[in-house]
């Protein structure tokens, strides 16, 4: 197994700052916008962005929820393992709100397809956008593209993109892992 650094800690921080600024450009003061982190790995990125928006740009009352998509996935019973659920925590109304889905890596697009179905259980949003730190180009199974991307990556089938977060993995970095 070999791995190559795609983004180091500084590059991750620059990307996060840029993504936060792009969000502000489109959503101003976030009065009618909510952020939804996709479980399990999207929540770290979502928390970081929320923290940047609040601390660096003094935006107040950014609403952030966690959405678990396990029960909406299309590969139930297709793999060897039981799909393990995570916590969903959306304690605000999404009806007529602008939603930004936040996930670390966009690969086949199937997770986001599941998230689009899952969010309907909470109401009818006005619109939904997608923000990902890494966009794996040329690997989509579905017609889904991000509205905001940190970095576009060309990775082939056997390669894996690993996003590490300091609070979870001890460092901020993105690796391309060859298994």
């Amino acid at each position: 197994m070999s791995q190559k650094v795609l983004l180091n800690a500084t590059e991750v921080h620059i990307a996060l700052q840029r993504l936060a600024c792009q969000l502000i450009e489109n959503h101003n003061s976030f009065t009618n916008t909510v952020l939804i982190g996709i479980q399990p790995r999207g929540i770290f990125l979502a928390e970081r962005l929320k923290s940047i928006l609040e601390k660096d740009y003094k935006l107040k009352n950014i609403q952030l929820g966690y959405l678990d998509i396990t029960f909406y996935r299309d590969d139930f019973r297709r793999g060897d393992k039981t799909l393990e659920a995570n916590t969903t925590n959306i304690n605000f109304i999404v009806e007529d709100k602008k939603i930004v889905f936040i996930d670390d890596v966009l690969y086949t697009g199937r997770s986001i397809r599941s998230a689009l179905t899952a969010i309907q259980s909470f109401g009818r949003p006005l619109e939904i956008e997608l923000l990902t730190l890494i966009d794996r180009r040329f690997s989509r199974h579905l017609p889904i593209q991000p509205d905001y991307r940190g970095r576009q990556v060309d990775a082939i089938g056997g390669e894996k993109v690993k996003v590490c977060w300091e609070e979870k993995d001890g460092e901020d970095a993105v690796y391309l892992v060859n298994e």
Binding site: F71, F76, S121
Partner: protein, 312 residues
Amino acid sequence: MSELSVNHLLGIKYITEADIQLIFETADHFKEVINRSIKKVPSLRDITIANLFFENSTRTRLSFELAEKRLSADVINFSAASSSVKKGETLIDTVNNILSMKVDMVVMRHPNPGAGVFLAKHVNASIVNAGDGVHEHPTQALLDCYSIREKLGDVAGKKVVIVGDILHSRVALSNIFALQKLGAEVKVCGPKTLLPKYIENIGVKTEGSLRSALEWCDVANMLRVQNERMDISYFPTTREYTQQFGVSKALLDSLDKEIVVMHPGPINRGVEITSDVADSKQAIILDQVQNGVAVRMAVLYLLASKIKHNED
């Protein structure tokens, strides 16, 4: 990732503590799902479940059916009263006929102990025991323990007394197994005639006095006197039973702590518990019913995930 160690839920006896914890953690997520405005997830949309009830049931049957529908499974219902069982068909024949219609899972209640185990050996489907005679009722025990965990934070270390007709109760046996696996201490309390002879051999203490039992416990699980299973008289009169083993508000108030009162239903109001207890804040009877749906969703989801797609 963990998965269940079994392909069927035939009894608490056959599953491990890790299985129970996995069911509880999964049920937590389903409890959140059933409190949304849209209470349905598509996980089991390609699974068909047959509910076979060879014995009467209201709550369990509705709870299973709701759990199945909230998971988007296709459901067929069968009750012995209106079926060919009356015409002399055997259990295996009945079930195989139903399975030939491409059914993946069977939820069965049957008056004979061991019916689920027997079926699991002979047919090719995932079996969930919804009560087999006086043997086990695993999903009831799971939802009871889940409700204790929700109310008191944990089951381990808690003292639970099961009061009433232990002899005829599948709920009692499953509860004893589940509580012990989760590290709780269990006592049973009731008329000597309604306590099984060898109950102490499975590590359960008996207690003749209801007051002492209540003073000892954190949770009292009140069982119904199952008149329909009694072919002889086990106690002189219902009035005498109530005087010795019925829980009233006055009795609860006279204890120096607040205990949790549970009942698997249906309640005989005024026999094992009075109405003011059943409707009090100490009673978590309706929480048990709500948790029943979430716990059954978890059981069905985890068992269904072991039915591989390419085996269809």
